[in-house]
């Protein structure tokens, strides 16, 4: 008899479990529960297993659960992953959808921070929304081992349905195409807001993803939009970025991934970042030309908040609107650094007031005292005020 495994059970794998499943010809369902919380949750774990077996019509099986405090939606995801290794089935065991997880997001909402979470690691997802990031990314790509892609997809699906992100935009980074298309099938029906497409190098890839998303939306009657954020992380991507930006109305932002990019161009990544200046500028220009947000790469030293702050200020100075993060503690620093400074706000307020006054009086020219204010300066001031309003 073949035995299937899913999930993890190292000491550090809190909120996860390792499930093994062997299908038998007779003997009913035999469940062994090894758990730190056995005295409090053994009954619940057994009931959960029995209900999954029922849904998949499995009458005889041996299940062993090595549990480290996994919530229900993790146990069912792990068990389903085992089942799908052993039998072909279209059935899914979907946990209840939280009502607050069903909404859509606006195209121009703030996307200053987006927190990457490895999609197959439940302990990081449960509290991720508490840290007030603008977005949370459940990653199916680089942080998931190749042989764990299938189980991660099921877990990410359940996470989208069950975990409250407390208002953060719900994002999934899919795998590179074509595998990423299957990821779409798994996550789009479950209320994801933004799909991140890694290593994007052509407008055709965007169109392929968009078509798949629209078909899924129709099929599953999804009312809200599902946006696309391509990640530019190769020389080819940088060259094609303008076409990528314009490939679909559902592209909302362009992100840049500098680790892969510098590897691609064969330059070591430095702190000053001269080697990536062109790529960053190119991505920013393409984004702004198409009225999209430009999102910078992650800053990987999670212990150095001062260096992160400098990095964000440099990003902001170039024209970026947001940045990825890999640890919750980076979120606040990123928000603070992207927020307009007191001086910027004061200056912008004066200009905006003058602009409104001029508009009311029907004057064609905006001026403060004897100084004329050019239209682009007014536009920038309006943007600062808008950002201030959104950040508070």
């Amino acid at each position: 008899m073949k035995t299937a495994f899913a999930g993890q059970h190292q000491k550090s794998d809190r909120s996860d479990c390792r499930v093994s499943l062997t299908l038998n010809k007779s003997g009913g369902i035999d469940i062994t529960v090894n758990s730190k919380v056995k005295l409090l949750f053994e009954r619940a774990i057994r009931e959960t297993c029995m209900s999954v077996m029922k849904i998949f019509s499995i009458p005889h099986a041996e299940i062993v659960i090595d549990d480290n405090g996994a919530p229900d939606y993790v146990i069912t995801a792990r068990l389903e992953a085992c089942i799908k290794q052993l039998i072909q089935t279209e059935i899914s065991q979907l946990p209840e959808m939280l009502p607050q997880n069903t909404g859509g997001t606006k195209k121009d909402r703030m996307r200053r921070s987006r927190l990457y979470l490895p999609g197959n690691t439940p302990k990081l997802a449960i509290n991720a929304g508490l840290h007030s990031g603008d977005g949370i990314i459940l990653d199916l790509e680089d942080s998931v081992a190749p042989d764990r892609k299938d189980e991660a997809r099921i877990l990410v699906r359940n996470t989208l349905r069950t975990v409250d992100f407390y208002g953060a935009e719900r994002m999934v980074r899919i795998n590179q195409l074509p595998r990423g298309l299957e990821d779409l099938d798994a996550v789009v029906p479950h209320h994801v807001n933004v799909i991140l497409l890694p290593k994007c190098e052509s407008p055709e890839q965007i169109r392929e993803v968009d078509t798949r998303i629209q078909n899924l939306r129709k099929k599953h009657n999804i009312q809200h939009e599902v946006w696309i954020m391509p990640i530019i992380e190769s020389a080819m991507g940088v060259i094609k970025v303008f076409d990528i930006a314009g490939a679909s109305n559902n592209v909302i932002a362009l992100a840049i991934g500098l680790e892969d990019y510098t590897a691609d161009i064969g330059a070591p990544r430095t702190r000053e970042g001269k080697e990536t200046f062109f790529a960053r500028s190119q991505v920013i220009n393409a984004a702004k030309a198409m009225n999209l947000q430009a999102i910078d790469s992650v800053f990987s030293d999670v212990s150095d908040m001062e260096a992160l702050r400098e990095n964000v200020l440099a990003s902001k100075a170039l024209g970026f609107d947001g940045m990825g993060c890999i640890h919750p503690r980076q979120i606040r620093v990123i928000h603070e650094a992207f927020a307009p400074t007191k001086e910027e706000i004061e200056k912008a307020k004066k200009i905006v007031d003058a602009f409104h006054e001029a508009t009311e009086k029907g004057l064609g020219v905006v001026s403060i005292g004897s100084k004329m204010i050019d239209p682009p300066v007014v536009k920038r001031a309006l943007r600062v005020m808008e950002l201030t309003e959104k950040s508070t």
Binding site: V37, L39, I126, H131
Partner: protein, 519 residues
């Protein structure tokens, strides 16, 4: 065993280990009358005129102290998990064929798991004191011959002073001592800072043995232990393992979730107007508490105000507050890291050692806790009536002592910053497994998902209602935890009472029962 329902609705026995006990009557309701316990009168004529009370070994000291069956032996826990003395006492007792001892430590640590073999063989009958880890597990599984008695730090002082515990022999490790028996914890290879837990032991025990690995010529100053109470002094190679006594450096938590709890706690204190010039606070040395201290420190520095005093465990962070001029006094009953030991040694004017009598004794003419503005504590469980548990886990296992927790509940604002769930186990429940502190004394629960204020504290509710803080009812918090974790089943507990939980006035507030299904 006759069981009666006490004032918080818990069924408790009227007799423990053959002695009558009084069920909890309510906060402040039990006012015993009578005189305190006193040790026997002694004469200086029976002690060496040259003041040299040294004997060659702990064994000889115990023989001289007439160690015999059924005696009460006490130790302090200032050497924490690095203590090398307590286990030796019972090894010697076993060698001498002594049985049925009662061990009354001020706390036990995982390093004391070796006494389990003496509990099994009958050398020790039962433990009266805080129990941690392996000893708690042993007790929970019903393996101890007698019933354990858990007391708070203040309750231990009260029990010794009132004669509930009559110590026959106190064996007190002193990191520095002279041959007369004066001792302190400020110097020596096993330096631990203050020795404030040992006060009741040397004041009230019939025989007092000081064990040191740093003997200095008389006089040993300061006299944290006063030699006039001491019978014997023993010099040994080592009393403790330094790195297990104090941390090199205590560290604030790195967990983003716990930092969030700390931040919310600090914001709550600020919104409630508690962080003011001249305020006082107490917090433990856990990572979350330390992070709250950092927030306080920052607020005080920014506003150029200072706290008048802090009580309790000192760490490098409290030292920094003194040195930065935003804390006038650290009144220290327990010193947690090397920086704090140094500060107590070098800056006694601002960082004096105090005893448990000062801060916690309930049968005294007042104590420090009622004067404190902000009290930060932990809990294993809190119920919807704000009753708290610090001793057992939700699965019924006794794994922690009470510490100073009960005593601290009397502060003006008692705040419990706790995660809403740990490892799938919700912390907020309908009814705590063991009721260690009544809800009327617990004011605020701060979790990563919201803050619940005890409805009895309308004054606090009014102060923070417009603060923008995530205020929720305790029922809402409980529901949120259960949505994420599921509802746990009740653990199966037997009828056998394995431990009694005393309130700080000596009455029995709850009991711990044997776990039926072992983990």
């Amino acid at each position: 065993m006759k069981m009666v329902k006490n004032a918080v609705g818990r069924m408790v026995p009227t007799e423990i280990n053959g002695e009558k006990v009084i069920p909890f009557k309510g906060v402040g309701k039990h006012r015993p009358i009578g005189r305190k316990h006193a040790p026997t009168i002694v004469s200086s004529a029976d002690y060496p005129p040259d003041g040299d009370k040294r004997v060659p070994s702990i064994k000889e000291a115990l023989i001289n102290a007439r160690l015999k069956n059924g005696m009460v032996i006490s130790t302090h826990h200032h050497l924490r998990n690095g203590d090398l003395i307590a286990n030796q006492i019972f090894d010697i007792a076993a060698e001498l064929g002594v049985k049925n001892l009662i061990w009354a430590p001020s706390a036990s640590f995982p390093c004391h798991k070796d006494v389990i073999k003496h509990l099994e063989s009958g050398v020790i009958h039962h433990i009266e004191g805080s129990m941690n880890g392996p000893l708690g597990r042993f007790c929970s599984e019903g393996k101890m011959a007698g019933t354990a008695v858990l007391r708070s730090h203040g309750g231990r002082y009260q029990a010794i002073q009132d004669g509930e515990i009559q110590i026959d022999i106190a064996v007190l490790a002193a990191p520095t001592a002279d041959s007369f028996g004066n001792g302190h914890g400020l110097d020596g290879p096993s330096a631990c800072g203050g020795l404030g837990y040992a006060l009741a032991d040397y004041q009230y025990a019939d025989k007092v043995i000081i064990v040191t690995d740093n003997l200095i010529p008389f006089p040993c100053i300061p006299m944290q232990i006063v030699g006039n109470y001491v019978d014997y002094v023993v010099e040994v190679d080592r009393i403790g393992i330094p790195e297990l006594i104090v941390s090199g450096t205590t560290q604030i938590t790195k967990s983003p979730d716990r930092l969030l709890i700390a931040e919310l706690t600090a914001k709550f204190c600020d919104a409630a107007g508690l962080v003011q010039d001249g305020f006082s606070f107490q917090m433990g040395a856990g990572g979350t508490s330390l992070a709250i201290g950092i927030y306080f420190h920052k607020m005080l520095m920014e506003r150029n105000i200072k706290a008048r005093f802090a009580v309790g465990g000192s760490t490098q962070y409290s030292v920094k507050m003194i040195e930065d001029g935003c804390l006038d006094y650290m009144l220290d009953a327990q010193t947690f890291d090397l920086d704090a030991v140094r500060s107590m040694r070098e800056n006694r004017a601002q960082h004096p050692d105090i005893s448990i009598f000062h801060c916690y004794d309930y049968h005294a003419k007042g104590n420090f806790t009622t004067m404190m503005d902000v009290m930060i504590l932990g809990a294993t469980e809190v119920d919807v009536n704000f009753n708290g548990n610090v001793c057992t886990h939700s699965d019924g296992y006794l794994l922690h002592g009470i510490g100073g927790w009960q005593n601290c509940l009397f502060a003006k604002c008692t705040i419990l910053p706790i995660p809403l769930f740990r490892n799938r186990i919700p912390i907020i429940c309908d009814e705590v497994t063991t009721l260690v502190g009544p809800g009327e004394l617990i004011d605020v629960i701060v979790t990563e998902r919201g803050i619940a204020i005890n409805p009895k504290r309308q004054d606090l509710i009014d102060k923070v209602k417009d603060s923008g803080l995530p205020l929720k009812s305790i029922e809402e918090l409980k529901a949120e935890a259960e949505r994420i974790c599921g509802i746990p089943q009740k653990p199966e507990l037997g009828d056998k009472v394995v431990a009694a939980i005393k309130w700080m006035d000596g009455t029995v507030i709850d009991v711990v029962r044997e776990v039926k299904i072992k983990l």
